[in-house]
């Protein structure tokens, strides 16, 4: 079988026009004739379907809408065609397929207003969450038996130990880049040996901790948001509450503590590996022997640089973990929300870390640790 959908306009002896359709009128064959059928003009009294070999709802719909347009009568319809046409009679609609869209001049201010409003309520939310966290830490201090050591150790492993390879690799490469690029610039003053100062001070004071915080936000902050968010969706968090377990104590406190405890260690580790990276560049490109580079670090880096890094690290850990847990707990509705909240956790975490870092930089310089 097969063939094409065809049509012909026949003038009858009594002056009326008959539209004769023939061949298969199916969704797969309608394409080529549909355009022509839409532009038919003049008078049509009858539509003859007796030549139609196959018909489905699309064919029936086309016949129906022509008959409606010209007020024509359908004749010669097979039993199947009649059944389909009968089913389609009451299905006309003018509804738009796409969702209504506001014009740009309304949409843009609307979006900005919504963002601002959400930012305000988000601030309240974060402050409230911090308060709830402090309360549960307080109650844990009074009832230390309730503290979940196992969960804490598990999170310490996930946040800290399993991050060692990637943070190590990242820091090593950053150390190489700083030393190499720094040496190129310093060579213009004939001061390549100051590369040691550059690498040592910048990694211990700033970059080690900052890059680690960004990495932890990407690895663990997102994981916190996704885990807690999924648990909210599956109503695990609600189940905990009904059993009498505080989700704050069971889920949030161990994660935040793990990040706060691990960040100084990871930050110091990162700075150390970066210095080793710098020393490798010194050995092979600057003519500074490897061990000399490392011993020079002790002389040129003041001890307070180390303190600056180590003091900032737990604060960054707190911010990153807080962002992850807060957004995780905010998940409600559907799985799409989990993805959205995870992204927000990482973005706000990193953003807040960089803002706080700027304040720290000014603060430590002012107290004379410049």
């Amino acid at each position: 079988m097969g063939g094409f959908a065809e049509y012909e306009l026949v003038e009858e002896s009594d002056g009326g026009n008959v539209l004769v359709l023939s061949g298969p009128y199916l969704v797969s064959t309608i394409g080529p004739v549909d355009g022509d059928l839409c532009t038919l003009e003049g008078q049509i009294q009858k539509i003859d379907l007796s030549g139609v070999s196959e018909i489905d709802t699309v064919g029936a719909w086309v016949a129906c809408s022509i008959s409606r347009q010209f007020d024509a009568e359908i004749i010669g319809a097979s039993e199947r065609a009649e059944r389909l046409i009968g089913a389609l009679k009451d299905t006309t609609s003018e509804e738009e397929i796409s969702a209504p869209r506001l014009p740009v001049w309304k949409r843009v201010p609307g979006a900005i207003g919504e963002k601002l409003y959400n930012a305000r309520s988000g601030m309240y939310g974060v402050i409230g969450f911090l308060g709830a966290l402090l309360l549960s830490v307080g109650s844990l201090l009074r009832h230390p038996k309730r503290f979940r050591w196992l969960a804490l150790v598990r999170q310490l492993e996930l946040v800290g130990v399993s991050a060692l390879p990637i943070i190590g690799l990242m820091s090593f490469l950053i150390g190489i880049v700083i030393a190499q690029q720094g040496a190129v610039q310093l060579a213009q003053f004939g001061a390549e040996t100051l590369t040691v100062n550059l690498v040592g001070r910048i990694t211990l004071r700033e970059l080690g901790v900052l890059m680690t915080a960004i990495m932890v936000a990407g690895r663990s902050g997102s994981a916190f948001a996704a885990q807690i968010g999924t648990m909210r969706l599956t109503e695990e968090v609600d189940a905990m509450q009904t059993i009498g377990i505080s989700p704050m104590e069971a889920l949030v406190v161990p994660r935040i503590m793990a990040a706060v405890l691990m960040m100084p260690l990871l930050g110091f580790y990162s700075a150390g590996v970066a210095i080793v990276g710098g020393a490798v560049v010194g050995q092979f490109m600057l003519g500074i022997p490897f061990w000399t580079f490392l011993t020079r670090i002790q002389d040129v880096v003041p001890l307070y640089d180390l303190w600056v890094g180590l003091l900032k690290a737990p604060v960054f850990g707190l911010i990153v973990a807080l962002a992850g847990c807060y957004h995780g707990m905010q998940v409600k509705g559907n799985s799409e929300e989990v993805g959205l909240r995870t992204t927000m956790a990482v973005v706000t975490g990193i953003f807040a870390v960089i803002v706080i870092d700027a304040f720290f930089a000014v603060f430590f310089t002012e107290i004379g640790w410049g």
Binding site: M1, V27, S28, G31, C38, T57, L84, S93, N334, E336
Partner: protein
């Protein structure tokens, strides 16, 4: 495959005339060491609603996924419309895939598109030469045909209730006027009124459009009301395919427990009551219905 000069294949619009649109022979499915199906046979007759039942984890959905090509079986042969779907190049399936519609359990609507746009997706994919105007019209009438109000066309799936999502999924499954319709637990999670309405819709669509329906369900009312035959999956095989009354005669422990358990009997009674109500003008029947509708005095 014969093609005309524009590259469209000519066999595509020939309706399947054979007796069995789906033939499954010797199907074996394994996940690691766990055998889900072992040597499973099943034939679906043209124009019937075949219910598929089985306990949880017996592989009802896996069977459906094997037939529609989402799961490659370890062994066995599956023919749809007389053509093998196992191990064939997806490009060759194209003449089969536009002839079936699938309604997944959760509706599986594309969440970034409105209901109308969802219905248009298969049309755009398979028949890009259909004018946008006609395509919009098709999307509208399919939505209404699936029992949704016309305003639903421009709504996003997130704005719909569970029952409406299923209907929207059905509208998309029907977009290409398929001959074969797969429904995976269509009434799960619907309230009894919504479930009954969906059953009626399925039956009406099957009769109007001449569909063959492969229906996975746990709903005993659905089985009694609309299924022409029921396939029972147990012991990794289809152990019986028959009408519900005939299945109830069978002496298999699972079948007996399923159909003659308290819920099975309740569904049966409900159906009997419906039958009786149709003859309400007869005084005897009316009395029987009255008597059966009243709960036994002792139990209340």
């Amino acid at each position: 495959m014969a093609q005309d000069e524009t590259g469209r294949d000519l066999e595509r619009h020939e309706r399947f005339r054979g007796e069995y649109p789906i033939v499954v022979e010797g199907l074996t499915n394994r996940f690691g060491d766990q055998v889900v199906h072992q040597d499973l046979d099943l034939k679906v007759r043209r124009g019937e609603i075949l219910g598929v039942v089985g306990g949880s984890g017996t592989g009802k959905s896996v069977l459906m996924r094997s037939i529609i090509g989402l799961q490659t079986p370890a062994e066995g042969e599956i023919e749809v419309f007389g053509r093998s779907v196992v191990g064939t190049d997806p490009e060759d399936d194209i003449g089969i895939r536009n002839r079936w519609g699938v309604l997944f359990q959760g509706g599986a609507l594309f969440s970034t598109l409105t209901v109308g746009e969802n219905v248009e997706v298969p049309l755009k994919q398979f028949y890009p030469d259909i004018e946008p105007k006609l395509r919009h019209e098709i999307a509208r009438y399919k939505t209404i045909l699936s029992g949704l109000p016309e305003e639903a066309v421009s709504k996003y799936p997130s704005e719909l209730s569970g029952g409406m999502k299923k209907r929207a999924g059905l509208a998309r499954a029907l977009a290409l006027d398929p001959e074969l319709l797969f429904l995976d637990e269509p009434t799960a999670g619907l309230d009894p009124i919504g479930a009954a309405a969906f059953d009626n819709l399925t039956r009406a669509l099957k009769e109007t459009l001449g569909l063959t329906v492969f229906l996975i369900t746990h709903d005993l009312d659905t089985l009694h009301e609309i299924c022409d035959r029921v396939a029972v999956i147990a012991d990794k095989k289809v152990i019986a395919v028959d009408t519900v009354p005939n299945l109830m005669e069978l002496d298999h422990p699972w079948i007996q427990e399923y159909f003659n358990g308290p819920r099975g009997r309740a569904a049966l009674t409900a159906q009997a009551l419906d039958e009786l109500r149709k003859h309400m003008d007869k005084p005897l029947a009316a009395n029987v219905v009255k008597a059966l509708d009243k709960p036994p005095a002792g139990k209340a």
